[in-house]
Symmetry: C2
Subunit: 329 residues, 2 copies
């Protein structure tokens, strides 16, 4: 278990007390903690690398790994995200692969799906997909990683899975906004929450993900599988994206909320917005993506990238997947 | 607003105090409450009937309505469910239509989607689909029913929408089971809940719904729209199906839980299990439905129909939609 330079306190705690201060669990004796400058030592006789940096740390990780990574060792990325070069969107495993030495002949795989780390650490039943370009690598990795409580399923829809994993973080900002709106809404006669609006956002998000995913060449069924609806469901149950959304729903701009309340925290949905915002707008201008198919995404990008106020365009939802003028198919 | 014979207390309260004791809201002055034996009076000059009986009450409603319903007035069903005749599954709007007078020339439409009544009653933003066989009827009804906070979307996938609406009640029993399992599980070091298992159930449920829906001729995109993932999301946030699931997750058989804790309540997911259980088993025997594509449904049917103990077959999930041996497509 190798920390980055931002994890020095966690690695120290693990070494001294064998206790993980974030996950609140003791480390199994088989796990050996390393500081970031011991990466080379940790890499000796390694058979598999599992990469869990934040999406902003992928380039850094590629550089550090390139110096010490055995050339035939597979990498399993847990890092979620998408990035844009202003013309097209790129999935993170490809971004990583392109920065590894050209002589690297391992494979970059990903694990996706609903997996809260603190739950997995205490061995709650957890089901995820493992994307591997090569089925033989899947068999090897799932043999190593699968347990009675950790269920790995193969999925060859590399693009669809990555699009779902990245965008659900962005959209969970939207579900968080509803909880903020509820807090500032006038009182009502009964105890009504705002599950109806949250559920409509949930469905609209999946519709918009289907538009992006189809455009990029992914398969629609990933939308309702573990990396899509499954992971989105768990993200909406809490976490930093929802907390940021709540602040925006309470009336703060993204910049205010970040500076005042979450300055030291990585909000993956916002990171994704910054990483894809200009590219998505450009793809819409070029007609590659349809503006009317993405009303919620465009609003969320405006809120994060341009500090636009929180506002949900309810009447513009559900336009593209079942257009008014044609039948569902 | 016409109550059934089971709603006498609610109708009395509405008449005397103009206050709805379940929804905890005052009735708008434009709404006139009627007792069940005043149905004929309520039906005078009516332009639209909205039917919200429980799924077990559809035959009763068909009989009562047949006597007094103007023959050209459309019906919008809110009642969710499926039923089986041991050979095939039937959607409820068709079951209703088949019991109306043969001279009836209105249309049976449905409204589906995430819509908690108490939230809608206080005008929370609510988005639903309105299925109408005839687009002209959709335009008329959506003109009548749509408001600034009540958003109606057309959907012509009558079968897919009904399958999603009915089965999500059954599957939310499963999500409830996880909360019961959490309560009886041994303590752990951290505060870990069971969001990972609940999310895997959520995704598996959508996969299994896709199998049934495809077999019956519905369209896959309904799975991730308002009637599918959207409504399922809101159902998992609470309600009677989840409460029943919780009792079963705590170790009670369905019969025990029903008799001891929910004797006077309608649990729609369990009603659906009884209504489709024998038919689903028969369809599996005949090879119309695939047993391996429905591990969770079969388990839930066993639990409700045969008092089988709560057990989740995690390792049998996700088999059919992405079979181990072929690529996703």
């Amino acid at each position: 278990l190798v920390g980055t330079h931002l994890d020095a306190r966690i690695i120290d705690a693990l070494r001294q007390e064998r206790f993980h201060p974030r996950l609140k669990v003791h480390l199994p004796t088989s796990v050996q903690p390393y500081a970031h400058d011991e990466l080379g030592e940790a890499m000796r006789e390694v058979e598999l690398v599992i990469l869990g940096v934040s999406s902003a740390g992928v380039d850094w990780a590629a550089e550090k790994l390139s110096a010490v990574l055995p050339l035939d060792v597979p990498i399993v990325m847990l890092t979620k995200g998408l990035r844009g070069d202003s013309n097209t969107l790129e999935i993170l495993p490809r971004a990583l692969q392109s920065q590894l030495p050209s002589s690297y002949r391992g494979q970059v795989c990903t694990i996706r799906g609903p997996s809260i780390a603190g739950e997995l650490a205490v061995r709650r039943e957890t089901s995820v997909v493992l994307t591997c370009p090569d089925p033989a690598v899947f068999d090897r990795l799932s043999g190593w990683l699968g347990t009675a409580y950790y269920h790995l399923w193969p999925n060859s829809d590399l693009i669809g899975v990555e699009v779902c994993a990245a965008l659900k973080n962005l959209y969970s900002l939207g579900v968080g906004i509803v909880s903020g709106m509820l807090e500032r809404s006038p009182g009502v006669e009964n105890e009504a929450k705002m599950h109806n609006p949250a559920a409509a956002l949930f469905a609209e998000a999946l519709c918009e993900i289907s538009h992006v995913l189809t455009t990029m060449g992914g398969h629609q069924r990933s939308i309702w599988m573990l990396p899509g609806a499954g992971d989105f469901y768990v993200t909406c149950a809490g976490g930093r994206n929802c907390r940021m959304g709540r602040w925006m729903g309470l009336g703060l701009s993204y910049s205010e909320a970040k500076a005042r309340h979450m300055a030291d925290e990585t909000v993956e949905g916002a990171e994704t917005a910054f990483a894809i915002g200009p590219t998505v707008e450009n793809m819409i201008r070029r007609g590659v993506l349809e503006a009317e198919a993405l009303p919620l995404m465009r609003r969320l990008l405006d809120m994060v990238c341009h500090d636009a106020p929180a506002y949900i365009p309810w009447d513009r939802f559900f336009v593209s997947p079942i257009p008014r003028r044609v039948n569902a198919s």
